[in-house]
Amino acid sequence: MEAIVVDGVSKHFTLRHAHSIKEMTVRAVRRQSLSERFTALDEVSLTVAQGESLALMGLNGSGKSTLLKLISGVMQPDRGSVRVRGRVAGLIEVGAGLHPDLTGRENIFLNAAILGMTKAETEAKYDDIVAFSEIETFLDTQVKFYSSGMFMRLGFAVAVHTDPEIFLVDEVLAVGDPPFQKKCLQRIRAFHAEGRTLVIVSHDMGTLEKVCGRGIVLEQGRAAYEGGIQGAVDFLAPPESPLEAQQRRRAREEAALAAVPAGDSARAEAELFAAEVMPDVPRLPDPRATLEYGLALAAGQDGMALEFGVHTGGTLSVIADAREGKNVFGFDSFDGLPEDWRAGFPAGHFAVEEPPEVRGAELVVGLFESTIEGFLQEHPEPVAFVHVDADLYSSARTVLAHLGPRLSVGTVIVFDEYFGYPGWREHEYRAWEEYVAESGVRFDYEGFTEGNEQVIVRITGIS
């Protein structure tokens, strides 16, 4: 689901030469121009998915802050529209709401209220805010006696304890001393992990690569590049030599490895795999978001939506909702896994007493190899969306082999256990790779769950 939709937005500034009634009169009499028009944003469009973290990059004056101000509602676009879902808060500039004559304590309450918190909310978070700011001893001192570092800390501490759905950050991650910066960065990542939507402006490419999945580069008010964060960084600051390019690549691989807990080599392998084959796709925060994103991609695609591996029906009902209950089918024997899968999932695991009731979806009960063929004979429609949640190589292979002729350009497949667990290269991943090699279909990766196992693919060509 989209959290921010910016559609064809332009913003012009009128640089007025006259700021008083007198100046205006004088210039009018002399027939001098009263103003000049300057285009800060030119037909910019972008969509940010809920839970996504977007980097906004560009040289000074390229329009980044202006775009953030349009998103936060501080300014209104001249043309086009901006729409947001949920509460927006931001660090457009740290400490904007701090008042020099008030004490630190009073400023915490005032600034929190400015950012939309109620008194009760502020009181509940007060201790956390104070602890985060590390200025306990100066709470009763007027803010005008604070050093600029303390001032920033206070402003930042309040801002990161608000509870917005969308959080905007404008060039403020560089405040404070290195330990504080690190803490702020952690906090921003925690925001991301909580599923909040982030838009971050920074000139620190390393930070952006760590926090953001996608990047947009603005050039003189136009979106010059949109894609994966690493691509965006390379676009804005191309490596100057082959050596530097290589260093960058190595640093990224190391970062990908460092991002996962030591010893979890399957996870690390998946990270590398993702960085290599799908560097530019959205990284979705959880499996549900991935499923919903896949469904959104298939929204314009006519035909059936099929799930293989219904289990208790939770995800099938998400699919049924998205397809409005039309042509949705769930396949499962409900006897659990037909053979051993990975460690901890022996044959028979996932068995349920009785098939679940799922509104808007029809169940096809039985082993895939015995049900799919008959089903397809009765249902001649194309397949628009497939959710492969059967875990095993053999099941995925059966499904793909039977469905193959019904897949068309635009069909979206969400694999639920594609990668990132021990032995992943032997299951859904392998079944898909083999199917692609045998059938010659072409496809794009469209997204995956960050730190998890789900992957979305979309068919782009059939030979």
Partner: protein, 298 residues
């Protein structure tokens, strides 16, 4: 979890939004009071000193030297009741006019319903009015004032008119001042005229005599501020007037036989309040349109 709708940001509901964010409004008022008096010699005491000096000047010059005390019995209460109301009005015009420009740092960086700032300034002026109002009350009681329905009703109506009018002009001036920084000067000039344009220093009958009761008088009386000042005088001054006369038709009169208040003052007051409310609605509309460009103009 309910899915929230996609909405355009920064399209506030105007003064209604201010009502929704009362808590923030209260903090803003407290901040302004605090910062205005922090480190000052007398603190809120200045709210006594200024009206006291203002009052003394008028009282001695107009009341004693120009002998207005003879025309108007109990002149100090007469003068002070109008003055309390008018200083509230003029102070509000000045502070609201600078309320957006003075909060530029916030207006440029965080979206808040911008009406908050003029509203906070108006409330701060209201707080400043309290000491003078207390003095007026004390003086009137000392001079024999006792509460009555007509007094309390007149006071409330007068205050409603002035507050509404001040808020309306406050919104307009605050917005215009963003675009033309010398507009503040215009406000200063307006404030020189206002105290003389209402029957605060002289009785309204002076205008009646000078205009021979013609259309100019009607224009003068049509000003809602005039009605408000007359109502405040009816609330505080008239009950303490020991030389009160009534004409044969029962209308209150001054010693010279002049009408103390124009006929139908309550109706005039209500009409003035209605006019002020219409003006407020208009001002809110203009403000809402102009505020979209505040952030880029500051």
């Amino acid at each position: 979890m309910t899915v929230q709708p996609l909405l355009a940001p920064g399209r506030g509901g105007g003064l209604l939004d201010v009502a929704r964010r009362r808590y923030l409004l209260r903090l803003l008022v407290r901040r302004e009071l605090r910062s205005r008096y922090q480190g000052s010699l007398l603190g809120l005491g200045w709210s006594y000193v200024r009206p006291a000096v203002n009052f003394a000047v008028y009282y001695f010059v107009v009341g004693i030297f120009l002998k207005m005390s003879r025309t108007i019995p109990n002149f100090p209460v007469f003068l002070f009741s109008g003055m309390v109301l008018i200083s509230f009005f003029t102070e509000t015009l000045i502070t609201t006019a600078w309320s957006i420009v003075g909060n530029a740092a916030l207006v440029k960086k965080v979206y808040l319903p911008r009406e908050l700032f003029p509203a906070a300034s108006t409330l701060v002026s209201g707080v400043h009015m309290l000491p003078a109002f207390g003095v007026l009350m004390g003086g009137a009681v000392w001079a024999g004032w006792a509460p009555s329905w007509i007094a309390v009703g007149s006071m409330a109506l007068a205050f409603a008119i002035v507050a509404t009018l001040a808020m309306a002009f406050g919104l307009l001036f605050a917005a215009v001042n963003v675009f033309f920084r010398d507009f503040g000067q215009v406000v200063d000039i307006i404030n020189i005229v206002v105290p003389w344009s209402v029957p605060m220093i002289y009785p309204w009958t002076t205008v009646q005599d000078a205009t021979h009761g013609g259309w100019l008088l009607q224009l003068y009386l049509a000003n809602p501020l005039t009605s408000a000042v007359l109502l405040f005088e009816r609330a505080f001054w008239w009950p303490t007037n020991d030389q009160a006369l009534t004409l044969p038709n029962g209308a209150p009169a001054l010693p010279g036989g002049h009408l103390a208040f124009p006929y139908h003052l309550t109706v005039r007051g209500l009409a003035g309040l209605l006019a002020a409310m219409v003006l407020l609605a208009l001002a809110q509309w203009v403000f809402a349109r102009l505020q979209r460009r505040f952030a880029q103009e500051l």
